[in-house]
Subunit: 230 residues, 2 copies
Amino acid sequence: MKKAVILLSGGMDSTTVLAYAQKQGFDCYALSFSYGQRHSSELFAAATIAKEAHVRHEVIDLDLSRFGGSALTDDSIDVPDFKENKAQTKIPVTYVPARNTVFLSVALAWAETLNAHTIFIGVNAVDYSGYPDCRPAFIKAFEAVANLATKEGVEGTTAFTIQTPLINLTKGEIIKLGDSLGVDYSKTITCYSADNKGRACGQCDACILRIKGFEEANIEDNTRYKTKSK
Amino acid sequence: MKKAVILLSGGMDSTTVLAYAQKQGFDCYALSFSYGQRHSSELFAAATIAKEAHVRHEVIDLDLSRFGGSALTDDSIDVPDFKENKAQTKIPVTYVPARNTVFLSVALAWAETLNAHTIFIGVNAVDYSGYPDCRPAFIKAFEAVANLATKEGVEGTTAFTIQTPLINLTKGEIIKLGDSLGVDYSKTITCYSADNKGRACGQCDACILRIKGFEEANIEDNTRYKTKSK
């Protein structure tokens, strides 16, 4: 059975990716990070999701908040509410410097020791909120690094691949895919400011994209919101 | 003053790189990792070296030993003694899966928040012990990732560069360079199995390369050895 490392945040995208990878026949190893994020309730979600999917789950402590520079890890920067009419031209303050590069690197380290040649990441270029490290060109460049960096890439016969099954899907399409795979989205946390009961704010970029996604998919949204934006 | 992040292990190569970067006029930020390595005495060395160089020093906890797969992080794999007559055809067991990829990724995260565009790493393709992630092709590929992964790479005007001033130097040439820059190598730790007093084993690959380096440079070796190989 082919092994794969799955970057699992506990959000809807990565949870869909885990279900997708299992459906493709991969023996999955889920990897999460405690990186100083505000929304650590997503780590509880990730643990529950991994347990219910019967996969091994590692949570790596890596304190990126030491460096600051993001609203997701730095309490002095506010998470902004979604602004419908403001065209988004700049990378938002919720961007965490080099986050996906760091996550993929650690996933690569684990993959190599597991003798896995596939890493799954739930990046998305459609609703990607302007994050540079969600773009296809970034993923392709990292794949090149993976094959140059590793013992397996030099001595082995199987190349590493980074699989991004959601990269060209809209949020609605992701939800439809997950629904067809039996994903229970009520277990997932998307909100950047979820409370310690796992309730979403209903106001931030991530909540708004999630709400719109359920509308687009025409699937009932069973997320628990503190205040749901209309 | 241009800022740079320096990957500082506490060994002779990275210590030489720090002195070199300062000589080049960079405002340096030193980054070390507590990654579950056997030779944690190198972290004490790194702290001393950074302090004496008057640079900010961060030590990031990132437990790669959770994944195993290397003699440097896994107690069940022995660090081999150097074998003079055995041609080295395979990557050695002291290789830590994806280590430099992980280190460079975290350095990139810090660089981006510091508004630094340069990362220095003391990799070496001559005496590189067969590690894939010390080769020029790997460094070039990572540089491409850095410029695709980051806000600065997308919106900024200055490209990230990964500087590898030692990459084409022999160990003897590195020691000559460091000596000309005033590096005190007695403060550095190279040995994979140094004891908690900072004494080197004098037998492992790293010790043998160091001993030969001092001989080649014709500079007195003031390293403290438990047993010095002849």
